[in-house]
């Protein structure tokens, strides 16, 4: 029972204690104790992940725990990455939850008991080593997260609708997963992952392709990829913020883990078109997600779409890794996979912090709409500062942590041309363009979120009445900010772990990335990134420039003055740019992709049609894919339902007749088919 096993056991123990505390302790003690135990659970998960990243593998079989097939657990470096990420996020969110759950009705027994369960499943899913264990934990995760998503349904009716969407789509994904993995287990003649690995080669290509596509669709919908992303921008805004932080920073990564484990490790790579599909979905999700984020005015909906974008970038990395592996260039594949994993870690850090900050804004003002916020920097300086740190990570610019992984991803794609084949020559530039566009738009999105949301003056009474969040929330967010800073300045520390994870996923053991300044050493690729040096240079140069200007300028006393109002009287907060107006140029540039809807209704005065009493303008940017894809499907189903209702005539004979006819036709078919 090496450190990984001990840590996991501790995690399970803490989860049990936390759940017990959540259920039975009185209200006042319940939230702190449950929160503390959840944080300890996260710490244990983090320890397990880091130990696994250090190279220690561990496996365990508990035959009697799950009735038929028993529980098989195995932890290697690849699952270590995702366990460490989940553990760290659970640790921070556990601490944050103590302060956040105080308000709303999140301190009820149900929520406080289910949260540790959800956190535990997040840590255990990467450790599953057999199809039945994996599916059991996956379903447990889906159920607990659903219970948490609808935690606030008494307050807002939209929560119920979001919960419905979330439940239906997660379980449709589970069905796909179930069919895919069952087919795989049947084809490979074994249920545990080692058996699957052994049997995968013997399976027929059609079986392998359909297993990958089916299970891949299930995992892609969990990762929020575009055609199946509709639940993400609905569930995240309605879920309590610390739950959506957990979901966005840890749960969606498991979709990526699934694709890597299934595609690269269990199925052993597969043909090139698989990975072209993964890359294409990732790129399309990245661009579409960030476009929707650019025009979103609800802060948490914006962050949810940004999750879809970042996961898209990760899948571009995974797709590239698969393509290079399929073309035989294993070191480059290891590099692309390392980039994808590093971006997953970075995204988890800054996205969790963003959601926690959005939660503390919601906690303080009760608002999520950026158009009504504003002026929070003066009233909530610490939250604004932490949001800025996370936004710096999210815009993927140098001192931030998002930049290191995006740089690595671009290096992997840019040096993919050495791989023979025309398809890579066409796919890679388009992928680089997609990443670049999404990075550019991400910058616009987070300037909007930070600038419109926090700066200038408040545009509503609630925003004006905002107050700083309680200390535990700030502590939770502080932990995440430290993680962001550490990842930004010293990503090299993660390099050996990522290389081991790549090897565990079946790629080469050549060390593409080395630590100490995140150098790149490959046969035809050379390049190095010195994030610490860049941050240092920026700081030194800043000091020099400010010293120089202070020295040269004659009048040093700063005077306060009113804003320049073109002489027409003090500008009211309503004149400032809101999220909608900020996004208007982008919306107009991409209007054929976004298809915004605007309706103006004019109510004339009763006496004469020429005198207008009131003009109401309403503009909305619907999610076009939902309109084009989901609505027809739902309409089709409801028409089918209506048609089926006509069958129910009420006569017993008709019903018996239907049964009889189907039986007879089936028998005829059976007879004919012999």
């Amino acid at each position: 029972m090496n450190t990984v096993g001990a840590a996991l056991a501790a995690a399970v123990g803490f989860a049990a204690v936390a759940a017990a505390a959540g259920m039975w302790l009185p209200l006042r003690a319940r939230v702190p104790v449950a929160g503390a135990c959840t944080a300890a659970l996260g710490a244990a998960g983090l320890a397990a992940g880091v130990a696994a990243l250090g190279g220690r593998t561990w496996s365990a079989d508990l035959p009697d725990l799950l009735p038929l097939a028993g529980v098989h657990l195995a932890v290697d470096a690849l699952s270590g990455v995702f366990m460490a990420v989940a553990g760290a996020v659970v640790l921070a969110v556990g601490v944050y939850g103590i302060g956040y759950a105080g308000g709303h009705d999140l301190s009820s027994r149900g929520v406080q008991a289910v949260l540790p369960g959800f956190a535990l499943t997040l840590i255990l899913v990467p450790a599953a080593a057999s199809v039945s264990t994996f599916l059991a934990l996956w379903e447990l995760m889906a159920l607990t997260s659903l219970a948490l998503v609808v935690a606030e349904h008494r307050q807002r009716s939209a929560v119920r609708e979001a919960g419905l969407w979330y439940a239906v789509m997660t379980h449709m994904g589970l069905v796909l997963l179930l069919v895919g993995l069952a087919w795989f287990a049947a084809g490979a003649g074994g249920e545990s992952f080692p058996a699957l690995r052994a049997g995968a080669a013997a399976m027929s290509p059609t079986a392998r392709n359909s297993v990958f596509v089916l299970a891949g669709l299930g995992f892609a919908s969990k990762a929020g990829m575009v055609p199946l992303h509709a639940w993400l921008p609905r569930a995240h805004p309605e879920a309590p913020s610390h739950v959506s932080a957990l979901m966005s920073a840890a749960m969606v990564n498991l979709g990526v883990y699934g694709i890597i484990r299934l595609g690269l490790d269990l199925l052993g790579g597969g043909p090139r078109w698989w990975w072209w599909l993964v890359l294409a979905t990732g790129a399309v999700s990245a661009v579409y997600g960030i476009l929707q984020a650019a025009v979103a005015t609800d802060l948490k909906r914006l962050l949810a779409y940004s999750t879809s974008e970042n996961l898209g970038l990760v899948l571009v990395g995974v797709g590239a890794a698969g393509m290079f592996n399929a073309a035989g260039d294993r070191p480059l594949a290891a590099l692309a996979l390392a980039a994808a994993l590093l971006h997953t870690v970075n995204h988890a850090a800054f996205k969790a912090l963003l959601f926690c900050a959005a939660g503390s804004v919601l906690h303080a003002t009760g608002l999520r709409d950026l158009d009504k916020l504003g002026g929070l920097r003066a009233r909530m300086p610490v939250t604004a500062g932490l949001f800025a740190v996370a936004a710096l990570g999210a815009v993927a610019l140098p001192p931030g942590n998002g930049f290191t992984s995006e740089w690595l991803l671009l290096q992997a794609l840019m040096h993919g041309l050495a791989v023979p084949g025309v398809s890579t020559a066409i796919v890679l530039p388009v992928a680089v363009a997609a990443i670049a566009l999404s990075a550019g738009l991400a910058a616009a999105v987070f300037v909007k979120a930070l600038g419109v949301g926090f700066f200038a003056r408040p545009r509503s009474t609630q925003a004006a009445g905002a107050h700083e969040s309680p200390p535990t929330m700030l502590a939770g967010m502080g932990l995440l900010a430290l993680a962001c800073a550490a990842l930004a300045l010293a990503p090299g520390a993660l390099a050996p772990g990522l290389v081991r994870a790549g090897a565990a996923a079946g790629l080469s053991d050549v060390r593409p990335v080395s630590g100490e300044g995140l150098q790149l050493r490959l046969t035809q690729v050379s390049g190095s990134l010195w994030p610490l040096w860049i941050a240092g240079a920026l700081a030194v140069m800043m000091a020099a420039v400010s010293g120089l200007t202070r020295g040269l300028s004659r009048r040093r006393r700063r005077t306060q003055a009113r804003l320049w109002d073109c002489g027409g009287g003090a500008p009211t907060p309503r004149m400032a740019y809101t999220a909608t107006s900020f996004a208007e140029p982008l919306q107009r540039v991409f209007d054929d992709v976004l298809a915004p809807e605007q309706d103006v209704d004019v109510t004339p005065v009763r006496e004469s049609a020429y005198l207008v009493e009131r003009v109401r303008f309403h503009s909305r940017v619907p999610d076009r894919i939902e309109h084009r894809l989901y609505r027809p499907v739902l309409n089709g189903l409801s028409n089918l339902g209506i048609a089926a209702r006509r069958l129910a005539t009420g006569s017993v004979h008709a019903y018996l007749g239907y049964g009889f006819c189907t039986l007879v036709t089936l028998l005829v078919v059976l007879a004919v088919m012999q």
Binding site: V447, F455, A456, I534, T549, R555, F582
Partner: protein
């Protein structure tokens, strides 16, 4: 190596800081002469900066740290880029850290911080400028990164020193279609990034047509000096980058003092010529409506994509 290399870095930074206003003055002078005016002389920008440094700094009520730090960060990021980019010599202590993607990202950081400052004032013009600036910056990003991709193919790395020394070794690479296409794409991207004429008119007075200028309406005194210096330095560094990428003759590849001095002189000449050509060309251009800018950027994106395709299909890497 370190003596001459370090000197090269210092020379580059000082050269860019000192030379940027002169280049701006020269461009205004060329433009004035072509418009028949006498022009205010090349030293006018320096006089403006000196006067602004003497004036009283005013901070608008209700603005936060973003408003105060943005001018510093704008000059700071451009100065760090000036240190990184191999304008005068490719063999400097920082040349292995000069990655083209890092350079592009550091410049983008300056744009983002200035946009945040525009929003921080809370005035209508600040928000408008920030929104337009971020839209243009978001649309320029694909073009720049694809031209970086095209440039990195022949030398196998995105490290600037490797690209430039590679270009110095075999100049045929620059005449190849890939090189020309990448140059055209990067040129349009530089115009958009620095807010020159087709995209944004730097010398406009009508607030509604501004992009870059609208964010800085609230600055005065030393802050305004830094903002103007930052804009001019950004133009100089990017023109220098274009010159060292596509006309690298005379750049010092060895760390000898003589080569360094020659390289500095040649750099100044080349950037001056390029600035004059840009100023002359601007006389013929008019500012494009904001919603025709995406067409311009889409065109340059296509050029960059063709550059990548050309470099792949032609030399059959």
């Amino acid at each position: 190596m370190s003596g001459a290399g370090a000197a090269a870095v210092v020379a580059q930074v000082v050269g860019v800081i000192a030379g940027a206003p002169l280049l701006a003055g020269l461009m205004r002078q060329v433009r004035a002469r072509m418009e028949g005016r006498a022009g205010a002389g090349v030293g006018q920008p320096w006089r403006d900066l000196r006067k602004l440094l003497r004036k009283e700094p005013i901070t608008a009520a209700g603005t936060g740290p973003a408003f105060r730090l943005a001018p510093l960060l704008l000059v700071d990021t451009t100065a760090v880029v000036a240190a990184l980019v191999p304008l005068a010599s490719t063999d400097t202590p920082v040349s292995d850290r000069a990655d083209l993607i890092v350079v592009v990202a550091v410049l983008a950081l300056g744009t983002v911080v200035l946009a945040l400052a525009g929003l921080d004032t809370g005035t209508a013009f600040g928000g408008m400028g920030a929104s337009r600036e971020m839209t243009v910056a978001a649309l320029v990003e694909p073009t720049i990164l694809l031209s970086v991709f095209a440039l990195s193919i022949p030398s196998g790395s995105t490290n600037l020193a490797a690209i430039v020394s590679g270009a110095v070794d075999d100049p045929a690479r620059l005449a190849s279609p890939a090189g020309l296409l990448a140059a055209a794409a990067l040129a349009v991207a530089v115009l958009a990034e620095t807010g020159r004429l087709p995209v944004d008119n730097p010398s406009t007075h009508l607030e509604l047509t501004m992009i870059h200028e609208a964010m800085t309406l609230e600055y005065s005194g030393p802050d305004l000096a830094l903002v103007e210096l930052g804009a001019q330095m950004r133009l100089t560094v990017l023109l220098g980058l274009l010159v060292s990428l596509f006309a690298p003759w005379g750049i010092a590849t060895t760390a000898s003092w003589g080569a360094l001095a020659l390289a500095l002189v040649l750099l100044a000449v080349k950037v001056t010529v390029l600035g004059a050509v840009l100023a002359a060309a601007e006389v013929f251009w008019a500012k494009v409506r904001l919603f025709r800018v995406p067409e311009l950027l889409a065109g340059s994106f296509l050029l960059a994509l063709l550059a990548v395709a050309a470099s792949f299909f032609l030399n059959g890497k």
